[in-house]
């Protein structure tokens, strides 16, 4: 467990709900759930959730910190917003799931190798490079996330898709060499760094 973890655990041992309220994006909504389950039933990836959102909310109240944060359930969110529009208590469930995933990720408790977790990191890093997403690099990066061998295999399996995109001029191999980028990349980086610094300070992620 990292320092970050120990610290959080020390502070919030007694009350995971409070920890979530303070550190998770939109976490203060968790207490408002009335356990109707409409979110759990609305998710397109529902069957793949070990713990659906409403259950996660109950687990948070029950203090099941490790089970929640180590779960890969939140990473199943496709951001379809079905749960949000149907929730009778207007909980921003999508965002809470994102928030929990992010929190677990930052704490390092999130499941290792969870594909969406990996992809999310890849995406952000890719975007941060130039301020805009480089789809070619993102794609290649994704397929090769598990090393060259696995990457070639996966990429080969998807080669028809890729070739189709290339043919339709919607995936550009030239992007590997550069691609679109911001003029004021420096300002952009400074801004994101500043935002991260404020957030980390606020949420106790200060190293």
């Amino acid at each position: 467990m990292s320092d970050l973890n120990t610290q959080a655990v020390e502070r919030y041992r007694n009350n995971f709900l409070k920890e979530v309220e303070e550190n998770v994006e939109e976490g203060h909504w968790v207490k408002m759930c009335m356990q109707c389950g409409v979110c759990s039933g609305s998710c397109p990836f529902g069957p793949h959730w070990e713990h659906p959102p409403q259950e996660i909310f109950m687990m948070i109240r029950a203090g099941k910190r490790d089970e929640v944060l180590a779960s890969d359930s939140m990473w199943m969110c496709t951001s379809c917003y079905n749960c949000i529009v149907r929730c009778p208590r207007k909980l921003p469930i999508t965002h809470i799931m994102h928030g929990l995933a992010n929190y677990a990720h930052r704490l390092g408790i999130a499941p290792k190798g969870q594909p969406t977790r990996e992809f999310a990191k890849l995406f952000w890093d890719n975007m941060m490079k130039k301020g805009r997403v480089n789809e070619m690099k993102l794609t290649i990066g994704h397929y090769f996330r598990n090393g060259i061998g696995a990457g070639i295999k996966e990429a080969m399996a998807m080669k028809d898709v890729g070739l189709g995109m290339l043919k339709a001029k919607r995936l550009n191999p030239m992007e590997l060499a550069g691609g679109h980028g911001l003029k004021d990349l420096k300002g952009f980086h400074a801004m994101v760094a500043k935002a991260k610094e404020i957030e980390d300070r606020k949420k106790g992620f200060v190293k």
Binding site: Q35, G37, C39, S40, G46, P47, H51, V85, P88
Partner: protein
């Protein structure tokens, strides 16, 4: 109508459902003068359209009969139907109400012989069956309608059928020239008992009311179960007229939902529990009822009823707010998707018919009451502004069951009496 005399010692009751009738009668039976104004052509309100009451499973028209007999026998109550109160001006002990009376096209000569209905062929959607069927445009709203007098629907006026109706009446009861009237009434106190309306089910989009014919509301289900309703009491589903044996009841359809009604409508749990009995009544052990719920709110001795229904093997309870309904294109069966939250079980359940336990919204939201009143965030009437003497009664004030509505209306009657008694003492008439 012109003979309605009212003074500052008169109590004006707006709404002729069970709450309004109760308030009017209780006050009248204390010796007070009451004018009872009802928008539709008959007294009785929504309870008259229910098949049975919970938890006794008795028939609402039974109590209606008693109340109508009380009204027929009490000259202190004067009833004006097809009338709406459009303005209330003045203050405690001294109000003037403007009452707009829509033409009925049938005068008091009517003997309810039914000759006009036989003469016409035009039909219109029957409001007393929630438009589930059509009725002749010259009609008696229902067998218990009071006043027992026919009505011509405005759609008939100006058509040859209207002339036929007039010609068929031997008693000069049909007056096609009848026009809207406006009346000014004095009153010392006003009881506002305009009741409730079912929440617009089509707005609960995931359930597909309006898109899927076999998704209906609980008030419509009452009409299906009623032997005097549009299906003769058979639980025939709308898509194909087949008998519905496997029925789903979805609780909190609109209620407890900040996207719709933020309040709990109180009656719906009991209504659904009651309606499982309709399924049993129709199909015995072959029937299937499934109640999808968040919390079953069966308060006080209603709990007995809940426990009884829980013991019925044909009734299943699933703690879940249904996420969405799809329709099987071939069979027309609604398929309910969701998660049973007790232990996390995912389901995709097929039913013959879905009944939405629809929430209660005030018929006239407090903001639309033509007087200075205070409403709550759901539009229910809390009180008159200042020291006004406009008292809410029944479901105009809150989502209430019949028993509570009557209780509430009786209390409202006393508050109104307090005002007119004070007027009487001041005027030296008491």
């Amino acid at each position: 109508m012109a003979d309605v005399v009212a003074t500052n010692e008169t109590i004006l009751v707006v709404g002729g459902g069970i709450s309004g009738m109760t308030a009017a009668l209780e006050a009248a039976e204390c010796g007070k003068q009451v004018v009872l104004v009802e928008k539709s052509p008959t007294l009785g309100g929504r309870t008259a359209l229910l098949y049975r009451y919970f938890p006794k499973l008795c028939h609402p028209v039974c109590g209606l009969e008693i109340n109508l007999r009380r009204i027929r026998g009490n000259r202190n109550v004067r009833v004006i139907t097809m009338a709406e109160v459009t303005a209330i001006e003045g203050r405690r002990g001294d109000y003037t109400a403007t009452v707009k009376i829509a033409p009925r096209y049938v005068n008091e000569n009517c003997t309810a012989c039914g000759a006009c209905a036989e003469a016409v062929s035009a039909e219109f959607p029957n409001p007393f069956n929630y438009h589930l069927n059509a009725t002749r445009a010259a009609y008696l709203p229902h067998a218990m309608a009071y006043p027992q007098r026919y009505v011509l629907d405005p759609s008939l006026i100006g058509t040859p059928d209207a002339e036929k109706a007039r010609a068929a009446c031997k008693y000069d009861a049909i007056d096609l020239e009848m026009a809207e009237e406006t009346l000014q009434l004095k009153a010392g106190a006003v009881i506002w008992a305009t009741g409730w309306q079912p929440y617009d089910a089509a707005r609960i989009q995931p359930y597909g009311y309006g898109r899927f014919p076999n998704v209906i509301t609980s008030v419509e289900f009452e009409r299906l179960a009623d032997p005097h309703g549009p299906t003769g009491g058979k639980l025939l589903r709308p898509s194909d007229g087949k008998e519905a044996r496997n029925v789903a009841f979805i609780q909190c359809a609109g209620s407890r939902d900040e996207n719709h009604l933020r309040h709990c409508s109180r009656i719906c749990c009991m209504a659904s529990l009651k309606q499982t009995h309709y399924v049993r009544e129709a199909h015995g052990d072959e029937g299937r009822s499934t109640i999808y719920y968040i919390d079953i709110r069966a308060i006080d001795r209603f709990e007995d009823f809940y426990q009884k229904v829980q013991k019925d093997p044909t009734v299943k309870f699933i703690k879940s707010k249904v996420a969405r309904i799809a329709e099987d294109a071939q069979t027309g069966h609604p398929i309910l998707h969701g998660v049973d939250t007790e232990g996390y079980h995912r389901y995709a359940n097929e039913h013959d018919l879905v009944v939405l336990a629809i929430g209660m919204a005030p018929s006239v939201p407090a903001g639309d009451v033509p007087a200075e009143v205070i409403g709550d965030s759901s539009g229910f009437l809390e009180a008159a502004a200042g020291d006004g003497a406009i008292f809410g009664a029944g479901c105009a004030t809150s989502a209430l069951d019949v028993n509570r509505s009557v209780q509430n209306a009786t209390a409202a009657a006393l508050r109104a009496i307090q005002v007119v008694n004070k007027v009487a003492r001041a005027e030296g008439t008491a």
